[in-house]
Amino acid sequence: MSQLSSRHLLGLESTPKSDISLILDTAETFSEVIERKIKKVPTLRGITIVNLFYEPSTRTRISFELAEKRLSADTVNFSTSTSSVKKGESLRDTVQNIEAMKIDMAVVRHSSPGAPYFLTNCMEANIINAGDGSHEHPTQALLDMFTMRKKYGRLKGLRVLLVGDVKHSRVIRSNLWGLQTMGADVALCGPSTLLPREVERFGCDVYTNLDEALEGVDVVNVMRIQLERQQAGLFPSQREYTNLFGLTKDRLKRLNKNFTIMHPGPINRGVEISSEVADSKNSVILEQVTNGQSVRMAVLYLLSGRKEELA
């Protein structure tokens, strides 16, 4: 018997190693379930889950929704474009109204960091963070770690390089904290204008030169350059970014043998990663998507029905 130490999943920064291991181990089981002919188990029958998406998302929303359906939960989808948010309703009012309809769990994506945490104080439901601004995206990092662990059989000691907009990327932050907790050797790489102040407090190697950063690396996790967050002109042009930080075939020879290319999607082909690299045999980009299912099923299963925090 075992359980998570928290009844919500808000981020990986303070999630203990035992919780991450439990989620990854449980996801292993669900990866068998989604290979079955009938990819559905009755586990969450009677549980109602609302997917609150205040920001656009394809992959994460579909992945959560399928995970919920495969566990037999009832689901309701909410997106800002078609809801009363347009009429000026506040986040607190919206969720309290939704909760009044007897919701058990909420999956939340919001552009404000901390929005999921805020919700834990105004609703009883179990809250899962599906991305909050530039803070965290825990299930993405969990599925990235699951994919790495599946390939290498371990996380401890793996050299993982996270490339991209370190300052704004929630995927980088969640990966970094989760991987460090699991004992991986994490390094960051990005343009100096996209590194946060006091980046050294992350306690890992930081590079502004991709070729140097790739030396001796096992896994490269490349982030999308989020054009929607690039209005401030933090790098001169997309072309310059591609020249300096784009992952191309020529750059791969510095990596360790049996290296892995990852990308959380959606990919901008020819910007942060070349098509050749994205489609190569070392790329596990689509496996990541498949594994996202198992990991999200595991998180939903482990959090469902949890009323109290572990004392």
């Binding site: 018997m1 075992s2 359980q3 439990l22 181990d25 449980t26 292993e28 089981t29 669900f30 068998e32 379930v33 079955r36 002919k37 009938i38 559905k40 188990v41 009755p42 586990t43 969450l44 009677g46 549980i47 299963y301 482990l302 469902s304 029905g305 109290e308």
Partner: protein, 184 residues
């Protein structure tokens, strides 16, 4: 603790019971050709492997063995604070039109078997599903009975039947922890 006088099945008795069950399975199904064996994790899975090995000795037929975890089909997932650790179900063969022998160590309320039957239905339509257990201890809460039983052991509701197997526990034995002794 030392189980002492409460041992109800010694290693020899367990081995004889499993051999008898293997014979009964073969007799009832006219051989081993149509059979598949599915053991319920954890100890049922070990008994399943042993029965398959015995059938191989007797008939020379390799019967496919699958392992099943029933946690995702339980009816009390949300009424317990702690969830059981879900293990992997491994049924790598077609069960359609097969005679499925479902194996568990102890038959008690019948709820585990109910969950296993529901799960089995999602894997395909077996010709028959038959249940073999090492110990039937009574107190069923559902209309479920075993087709093959190693030993019938009458118990009180709050007694505990402990099944040890060599592979996990170092030796084969079945004993009962009597409730009022446990509380003393």
């Amino acid at each position: 603790m030392t189980p002492g006088p409460n041992i109800i099945l010694s290693d020899k008795k367990i081995s004889r019971a499993l051999t008898r069950i293997s014979h009964e399975i073969l007799e009832r199904n006219s051989g081993a050709e149509s059979l598949v064996i599915i053991g319920i994790l954890t100890r049922g899975a070990i008994l399943a492997k042993r029965i398959a090995a015995t059938i191989k000795e007797l008939e020379g037929v390799e019967v496919p063995v699958g392992l099943m975890d029933i946690s995702l089909y339980r009816d009390d997932v949300h009424s317990k604070l702690e969830q059981p650790i879900v293990q992997r179900t491994d049924i790598l063969f077609e069960i359609r039109d097969k005679n499925v022998i479902l194996i568990d160590d102890v038959l008690y309320t019948g709820r585990t078997v109910r969950a296993a039957l529901d799960q089995m239905v999602d894997f395909g339509r077996a010709r028959t599903i038959q249940l073999a257990v090492l110990v039937d201890r009574g107190h069923k809460e559902l209309p479920i009975r075993a087709d093959y039983v190693g030993a019938n052991i009458p118990t009180a509701m709050d007694d505990q039947v402990v099944v040890n197997v060599t592979e996990l526990d170092g030796k084969d034995e079945v004993y009962v922890e009597i409730a009022n002794e446990r509380n003393r």
